[in-house]
Amino acid sequence: MTTNAIGRSVPLFVQNLGNFKPYAGVFATTPTGNHHATPIRRSPSTGNKLLPSIRESILASGLKSGMTISFHHSFRNGDMLVNMVVNEIASLGIRDITLAPSSLQSVHSALLPHIRSGVISAITTSGLRGELAEVLTRELPLKSPVVIRSHGGRARAIESGELRIDVAFLGASAADVYGNMNGVHGSTAFGSLGYAMVDAQYANCVVAVTDNLVPYPAIPISIPQTQVDYVVRVDKIGDPAGIMTGATRLTRDPLELFIAAQATRVIEASGYFNEGFSFQAGTGGASLAVAKFLKERMAETGLRGGFCTGGSTGYVCEMLHEGYFSAILDTQCFDLAAVESLRTHPRHVEMSASFYANPHSKACTAHITDIMMLGATEIDTAYNVNVLTGSDGIMMGASGGHSDTAAGTKLRLVTAPLIRGRFPIVVDKVHTVITPGECIDVLVTERGIAVNPLQKALAERLKQAGIETVTIEELQWRAEKLTGRPEPLPQSEDIVALVEYRDGTLIDVVRRVI
């Protein structure tokens, strides 16, 4: 074990996973090497890649025990494909699989029997939820810790060959027999295929799975036939209602609205709320309310934004349609209104996870955004943010794009209620660091606003605007006055998850909760 640049103890070597470097700083790691390349293969001479079942596609792909499979998580909790494919893999007697989806949801708790039986022996993903996450935090059913990667970090790891995908099973709501696919047509349309684009480009074998086989060509082509080995048609790949998981509607909660109002004041005073500003709205209730308040200010002043980035919600799409923003660059649609916008609006376009957030690409939108809203399950007095584990130490969220966007955006606001479930959100040390404190500018809560001491110019601008701020320690005190001081969590020395920073270094670990 060694201590990294933010004082967290991390391993340098992990059995079955190899060597790791400790986190050294936001942009401390210089990229080296070449992009991973996939084998050169020719499609069948007939050009027909269509196979009759998932089982046939697994056999055709050459998947064997010990290999790595991947999926995208655009269906979120409506996903059916992961469980479907792993069931078939298990029935074929294949074991010791590394599961490498872009994220896992509560619905994937159905994988637990396959984890306990050894069909799945390793997992790398962005986030975990529900019973699956609880078991993986309390027990050690895998042969190695889960590797948590941010969206940009995953794209980077795939491109560099650090994460080698043997077979990518990519769900599509529309595909043709040659493998052109999209997520905007069909009864199970889910929107952007941004996460899947990276898998499609770098996996050794790509299987398109659809419940909507359309005449050639499947336009728009989000993922092209040139990257797809096989196509499978199934009855249903997912439930579109499941992509609504989480708060994508404007909140009516007065506390969230109050926080949003304060955040809006901060944004207005920050110096970044200017003509052409770019914005990542986020999806939480308070974040969407900020978008609403900004829209009102834009309506009053005539100010217009540039691009919106990240995931999209119906509300932000409305702002595009009404001319408040000029474009949406979209990796993931969070509701069906956003899916419809992506399908119909010419300036609402898909982007890959690499385009969005890869720190070792030649440009990513996460580095050129002006203002963004971030959430937090905890934030500590050094401004480090946790969005992965809850107050009980159990994994219940995702690294997502949090650290990616925080690294490069000009104004990074964390909005959160100061007390959540009788726990203070400001703590001495967060249970798990996902985003380092130097990437957070301001914390906005209902009981006060704290500016990172590193951001002196911002603090001065807020002062000039008459916005009162306090230290983060003062916020911690205000919270603890109501909640008391939380007891430290009992946990073992066993590491259940490694948290990679976006550049591949280890920023933290998650230990087994006793």
Binding site: P254, L255, L257, F258, A260, A261, Q262, T264, R265, E268, F293, E296, I419, E446, R447, A465, G466, I467, K481, L482
Partner: protein, 299 residues
């Protein structure tokens, strides 16, 4: 400078049996918080809610908010227990529901006085607010308003009032006009604050805003709020314009200058300035200060 009077633009009702809402109430910066032991609490929860409110008064920091407790009416079995439990916890104000006569206030005043003595508190520590919610109460408003030195305000309750006059509440509010005006006149004549009734449709922000404007126009000092979102709207309606603030500040500056110089006659822009104009100017400046210097965002 004149003594500033406490502002009561917004009085936010908070159910006395909901700890989460009690803890968060001050976040919205209402001028007054009314911890409710009456309508918001079911009969079988009265004891628990009373205990919760007492603990909240003893332990929580409500910032600059005035702390009121709406106690159960004089003729309910909870009235005496409410006062006995609450007085030692020293809320700023007890708001008595269903006041219909001066005797209701006089009786309550005496009982509070007794409880203050038992708690070792100076007489008059806990103030009173009368809720007038019936035809009889409105008819007696002027007498009620002067029935006790503890009284700092009388509030109007439209829901029970319309029931008592066998009418229905309408958006136009014609059925309330006389009663609202009677309460304003009674309170203003007694030198205490008139507080307007609640507006129950929390989703109708335009309707609420119009209702607040009407209340302000009628002379109400403030409005009872049933939802935190309403607080900012009330403050926005009551916020003076920059022109009003500018003129008020000039009046106060002239008044201060005259006091310093011992001048008898004060004039600003050729207009005579007397006591009421100075008092009005002070009120405008107080409200402007309370509204804050930052541009409020409507929630």
């Amino acid at each position: 400078m004149l003594m500033s009077k406490r502002l009561r633009r917004s009085m936010l009702f908070v159910p006395g049996n909901n700890p989460a809402l009690i803890i968060d109430a001050a976040v919205f910066s209402p001028d007054s918080i009314i911890l409710d032991l009456e309508d918001a609490v079911a009969v079988d929860q009265k004891d628990a809610a009373r205990e919760l409110v007492v603990r909240a008064l003893q332990t929580l920091d409500f910032g600059n908010c005035e702390l009121c407790v709406r106690i159960n009416g004089r003729h309910t079995p909870f009235f005496a227990d409410d006062i006995r439990a609450l007085v030692p916890a020293r809320p700023h104000v007890l708001r008595l529901a269903m006041v219909e006569s001066p005797e209701d206030i006089i009786y309550t005043d005496q009982f509070i006085d007794h409880c203050e003595r038992e708690a070792g508190l100076p007489s008059g520590s806990v103030k009173l607010m009368a809720s007038i919610e019936t035809a009889r109460g409105v008819t007696n408003a002027a007498k009620i308003a002067v029935s006790s030195p503890r009284l700092i305000a009388i509030s109007f309750g439209a829901e029970d009032f319309t029931h008592s006059i066998q009418s229905e509440r309408t958006a136009q509010g014609q059925e309330l006009l006389f009663a609202r005006s009677a309460v304003v006149l009674a309170a203003r004549a007694a030198g205490i604050d008139p507080i307007d009734t609640v507006y129950s449709n929390i989703d109708d922000e335009p309707g609420f805003r119009a209702d607040v404007k009407a209340a302000k126009q009628l002379g109400f000092a403030g409005k009872s709020c049933v939802h935190p979102r309403q607080v900012a709207i009330v403050h926005d309606v009551y916020r003076p314009t920059s022109d009003e603030v500018y003129k008020a500040e000039r009046v106060l500056a002239a008044y201060a200058d005259a006091l310093q110089k011992g001048t008898g006659v004060i004039s600003v822009d050729g207009r005579m300035v007397d006591g009421p104009i100075v008092a009005k100017a002070q009120r405008i400046v107080d409200i402007a200060r309370a509204a804050g210097s930052g541009r409020g965002v409507q929630v």
